[in-house]
C-alpha cells in the first residue's frame, strides 16, 4: 500500500525499532505517581506520629523520621533499579529467592534477635531484617514461576495444589516457631490468592479453608490467642495491654471525627497510644486528618491496588501478570489487615501499614515490590506504538 507520507524502511530496521521501543517502553506513570504520593504522605504522617515519643524519650523529635527517610531514599533507588530489570532476571531468580527466604527463615531460630517475646529478626548490624518479609516476595515470585511452568497441570492436585501447599506449610511451620501469626496469615492468604489465579482446583480452597477454620478454632483455645479475642470483644473493659492498645486506638480514631483534629495536633500520640508510629500509625492519621483524610488515603491505596491488578491483566507475559497480581494482593492484604486491626474489626495482630509504618527494611522491600510491578508494566506494549508498529508491517 502506497503511502506518500512514509519513508519506506527495510524489515530489519522495523524489527530493530520494535525491540528498541520495547526496551525504552516507559513504566506505568499512574502507578508510580500513586506510589510516590503514598510514600510521601506516609513519611509526613510518620513524622507527625513519631516526634512526640522521640522527644519525650530524650531524642531528637525528627530522629525516627530521618531514619525512615534514609530507607525511603534507598528504597526509591532500589525501586528504580528493579523497574529496569528485565523479566527474564526475575524468572531466573524466582526459585533462588525462595531458597534464600527459606534459608533465612531457618536461620532466625539460630541467630535471630528476640523482641516482645518473639524471634523474628536478624540483625545485620546497621539494620535488622525480617526474613518473613522476604518470604512474602519469594512466595509471589516462586508461585508465579511455578504457575507458569505447570500451566494446564494447575488443574490437578498433584501440580496445582501439593507443591504450593507444601511451601506454604513449610513457611507456616517456620513462622510458628518465631512465632509470627500475622505473617503466617498473610503468606497463606497470599499463596492461596496466587493459586486461585493460577487455576488450582477450587476444591482445594474449600478443603484448605475448612482446615484453616479448624486450626483457627483450635488456636483461639490457647490463652495467647484467647486473650486477644477477649480484648477484641471488650476493648473498653478488658484488662490487658492489647485491650488498652485497642482502646487507645479507638480513642484516636474516634477523636478525629469528620475532619480531624488537624495535622500534627494529635494528642493521643503523646504516649497514650502505644506503637503510634508503627502498627497503629493509621489511628493517628485518622485522629489528625479525620474521616475525610483517612478515607482519602484508603482510596489512594485502593487505586494503587486496582491499578496493579489492571496492569497485570495488560501484561503480555503470564509471569509478569502473576507478579503484578501477587504484589497487589500482598499490598491489599497488608493494608486491609492493618486497618482492620486498628479499627478493631478483627482481633489484634501485628501488621504494619505499607508506606506509613516505621520500619526501614519493610519500606525498602515494599518499594522493591513496587519496582517489580513497574518493571512488569514496561512489558505492556504501548497501544499506540504497537499499532504503529503493526501498521508498519502492514
Amino acid at each position: 500500500m502506497a503511502n506518500p507520507y512514509r519513508t519506506s524502511k527495510p524489515e530489519e530496521e522495523i524489527a530493530d525499532y520494535t525491540r528498541e521501543r520495547q526496551r525504552k517502553r516507559s513504566m506505568d506513570a499512574p502507578f508510580l505517581i500513586l506510589v510516590l504520593i503514598l510514600m510521601t504522605v506516609g513519611l509526613i504522617m510518620l513524622l507527625s506520629a513519631s516526634y512526640a515519643r522521640a522527644y519525650y524519650e530524650g531524642n531528637s523529635p525528627i530522629s525516627i523520621f530521618i531514619r525512615q527517610l534514609f530507607f525511603a531514599a534507598v528504597g526509591l533507588v532500589l525501586m528504580m533499579l528493579l523497574s529496569r530489570m528485565p523479566l527474564s532476571i526475575y524468572k531466573k531468580w524466582s526459585m533462588r529467592v525462595l531458597l534464600i527466604a527459606v534459608a533465612l527463615m531457618l536461620l532466625v531460630p539460630i541467630i535471630g534477635t528476640r523482641a516482645n517475646g518473639a524471634k523474628r529478626w536478624i540483625n545485620l548490624g546497621l539494620f535488622t531484617i525480617q526474613p518473613s518479609e522476604i518470604a512474602k516476595i519469594s512466595v509471589i515470585m516462586a508461585f508465579s514461576a511455578m504457575i507458569c511452568k505447570y500451566r494446564d497441570k494447575m488443574k490437578t492436585w498433584r501440580y496445582g495444589v501439593m507443591p504450593f501447599a507444601g511451601i506454604l506449610i513449610a513457611f507456616a511451620g517456620l513462622l510458628a516457631l518465631e512465632p509470627h501469626l500475622s505473617a503466617t496469615i498473610i503468606i497463606v492468604l497470599l499463596g492461596a490468592a496466587l493459586m486461585f489465579l493460577g487455576g488450582s482446583p477450587l476444591s482445594a480452597f474449600v478443603l484448605g479453608g475448612g482446615g484453616l477454620a479448624g486450626l483457627i478454632f483450635l488456636y483461639t483455645k490457647f490463652s495467647y490467642a484467647s486473650d486477644r479475642i477477649e480484648a477484641w470483644r471488650n476493648p473498653m473493659t478488658h484488662e490487658s495491654d492489647t485491650a488498652y492498645q485497642i482502646k487507645q486506638s479507638l480513642y484516636s480514631i474516634g477523636s478525629g471525627g469528620l475532619s480531624g483534629v488537624g495535622f500534627g495536633e494529635s494528642r493521643q500520640k503523646y504516649m497514650f497510644l502505644p506503637e503510634e508510629h508503627n502498627d497503629f500509625i493509621f489511628s493517628i492519621v485518622c485522629e489528625e486528618l479525620g474521616y475525610i483524610g483517612a478515607v482519602t488515603i484508603l482510596i489512594l491505596f485502593a487505586l494503587l491496588i486496582i491499578r496493579g491488578f489492571w496492569l497485570a491483566t495488560k501484561c503480555p507475559d503470564r509471569y509478569a501478570f502473576l507478579l503484578c497480581c501477587g504484589v497487589s494482593t500482598l499490598l491489599s492484604i497488608q493494608v486491609v489487615l492493618n486497618v482492620s486491626v486498628v479499627t478493631n474489626l478483627i482481633p489484634c495482630t501485628g501488621v504494619s501499614l505499607p508506606f506509613f509504618s516505621y520500619g526501614g527494611t519493610a519500606l525498602m522491600l515494599q518499594l522493591a515490590e513496587m519496582g517489580i510491578v513497574l518493571s512488569c508494566s514496561r512489558t505492556i506494549p504501548d497501544k499506540k506504538k504497537l499499532m504503529t508498529a503493526q501498521n508498519l508491517q502492514i
Binding site: G254, G256, R267, C286, Y291, A294, F309, T343
Partner: protein, 777 residues
Amino acid sequence: MSSNQNGRRSVKGPTEQMKRRTLLLMAVCGIVAFIVLAFQLFKIQIIEHDRYEADALSQQIGTTSSIAERGTIYDTNMKALAMSSEVYTVFIDPKAITERNEDINLIADELNDLLHVDRAEVISKMDNKDSQYAVVARKVDPDIVEKIKSFKEINNITTVHFEKDYKRYYPYGSLACHVVGFTGSDGTGLQGVEYEYNSVLSGAEGRKVQAQTANGKPLMFTDYEDTYTVQNGLNVVTTIDSTIQYYLEKRLQEAVEKYDIQNGAGAIVMNVKTGAILGMASLGNFDLNDYLAVDEETQKKADEASDKESDEIMSEARSLMWRNKCISDTYEPGSTFKILTLAMALQEGLAPEESDNYFCEGSVQVEGDTVARHCWDVSGHGEQTLTQAVQHSCNVAFVNIGQKIGAERFYKYCDAFGLLNITADEEESLTGLTGVDLPGEARSIWWSENVFYNPEVRSQLAAASFGQTFNVTPLQMVTAVSACVNGGYLMEPYVVRELVDDNGDSVYTHDSTPVRQVISEETSDKICEILEKVVNDPVDGTGKNAYVAGYRIGGKTGTSEKVSKLADTGEKEYIVSFMGIAPADEPEIAILAFLDTPKDDGENYISGGQMGAPTVGAMLSDILPYIGVEAHYSEEEILNRDRGVPDVLEKKISDAAKAIEDSGMRYRVIGDGDKVTKQLPAAHSVIAAGSEVILYADEEPSNNKETMIDLIDYDYVTAREKLSQLGIFISTSSPVSSPDTQLITSQSIAEGEQVEHGTIINVTLRTSGGGSMIGRY
C-alpha cells in the same frame, strides 16, 4: 510476524480464567475490603465520635491548680488580725525514686529529721511505686523548705517536691477571737468573720487546664490550654479597733477575776451613729492560732476520762469556748431595758418629769398580775421624779409606766427597736435578729402577741417593763439602746466596713443607712440627759460606779435573774450588766458589759451597780481618752484628782517648796542643805492630791523597808496620811470626788508586804455618796 506475536501472547499472557479470577480478586482486594473499612471508620469516627472524643479528652486533659491567697482581716486601723503566710506541701515521687534509684534511706532520714515525720511511714509511701505523688507533710514553713532544697542539691536528690499552700496566722492570738474566727485545716472559715466572709476571703483557685502526655507532662506544642488566673481573696477591713478590743478584754478579764464570774462574760462597744462594732469580747476566749486547745483543767479532765467521754468533754468545752456570748446567747436584760421603756414613755408623752405614777412603796401588783412586783428597795423609794425613778432603777415606777404604755404599744416599740419581729402570720415565731454580719446570731424569745396582749394576763407587761420574762441578745440591747441615744435611729450593727482587693481598691463599703427612726431626737436627748444623771449623781445614781472623772457618761445598770435557771434548779443566778453611753451630751459610743453569774461569796454584792458599772467605768477610762474625747474636769475634780509630782531636784528648797505647793501638794524637808538632793516620790509620779512630798537636802532616805498596812474601808485622805508617815504614797484609778468620804475597796499591794520608801500603792475607791444603795438594780 503479526500472527506469530499474537500467538505467542496468547500462550504467555493470562488465560481467560485467570482474567476472570483476577477481576474477582481485584474486586475483593481493591473494592469490597475497602468499603468495609470505610464503613468501620464511619462507625467509629462519625457515629461514635462524641463518646470516644469525650473519653479521650478525659485522659488527655490535666488540670493544675494554684491556690488563692486568703485575704487578710484587718482591724479598723488596718492592723492585721488574720493573715495568710506562705507554706508548702512536701511530697515525694515514689515512681521516680524507683526509676532513678535514689537513696530511700537517705531521703527518709532527712525528711524525718527536718519534718519530724515518721521514717517508716515515709518508706512505706515510697513503696507505692506506681504513684507519683505522695504527701509527706503539709503546712511546712519556707525556711524548712529551703533546708530540704539545699539537702536535695548536695545529695543530688530530685524526687522530693514542694507545692505552695497558705497557712492562717493570727498576730494577736486571742484578741477578738470570736469576731475574727478561724479556719479549719482545709482553709475554710469556721467561725466569725472567717466564716461569714469565707467566700470573699478565699478568692478563686487558679486553674490551668491543658492537654498533657500520658505521663502528665505538658505537650510540646499545643494551643489547647485554658487558664483561669488565681484570684486572691479580698481583704476584709473590720470595724473592730484592736486597742478598744484590748481594753475591753483586759477590763473584762479583771472583772471576771475580781467578782469570780462563773459563767463567762461579754462586752460590746458600738458606734451609736453607724452601728459599727468597735469591740466585742466574750470570755473565756481562746488562741486563734491554737483554736483546739482547751484550758488545762478541762484538758486534764479529758485525759483522765475514757476515749468516748473525753471526746464529749473536749467538744463541749470547745463549743462553749468558741461561743460568742454577745450574739449567740440570749438573756433577760433586766434593768438596762428600762432605757427602752423610758424611751417609749417619753416618745408617747406618757412620762412627765413629775407624776404620782412613780410613787414607790416597795411593791406593786397591777391588775391581772398574779404576783406583786417588788422593787429592789423593799422599803420603797417613796415619791420620786421620772429622773429619780431611773436613777433609782425603781421597778415599781417602771411597772406603772409600762401599764401606761400598754401591751400593744410596748410590743410594737420592741418591734421597732429590732428586739422582735412582728409578722403578718401570727403563727410564725416572733423573734428578732439584728442582722449583724457574724454567724450564729441567736434569735430573741418573746411572748406571742396573743399572750402578750391578753388583758387577763398582764404579768408579762409588768415584768417586761423592767426587762424580765423575755430574752434578747446582748447585741440587740446595745443596738436598741444606741437607737435611744443617737437621735432615735435604729442602725444595723456590723463588723465589716470595707472589702479591699489586692491593689488596695475598695470593692465594697458598708452603707450605714438607718433601718428606721424609732423615737424623735428630742426624746433621744432627754434620755441621754437622764442617763447621765444615773452615773454622775453620787447620791441617787445607781450607776455612779461607772463614773470617770472628766467625762460625761450616761448609763443604766442591770441585774437580771435567770428565771429559767431558777425554775430548773431552784438556784438563784444572776447576770449583772451595765449599759453605758458616752459622751452623754453627744453620744458616740454605747458600751455594754455583762457578767454571767458572779459567785455569791458575800464579799461583793451581786448587782449591776456594784459589778457592771465599775467594769464599764474602767473600760471607758481607757477608751474615751483613746478615741479622743476631751476630758473636762469639774473644779472639785481638779482639786481632788491625783496629780504628778514636779521635778525639784537640784532646786533651792524655797523654789522646790513653791513648786510643790503650786501643784496642790505639801512637802517636808529632811536635812540641812539648801538644795534638793533627792525627792520622794520621783518626779512625774502620779499621787493623791495633798500628799506630802519628801525633799532631802544633803540627806539620803533610809534603806529600811516598811510593812504595808491594811487600807480597806479607810477613806482616801486618811489612808494617804497613814501611808505618808511610812514614806509611802497613794494613787487611785477611781474618780475622786470627795476623798474624805470615799472608802477604799481594794489595794494593789497586799497588807504585810515589805515595800521601799517612796513606793506608790494603787487603790480603788468606792464612789462617794450614800452607802445605802445596796440592792439588785
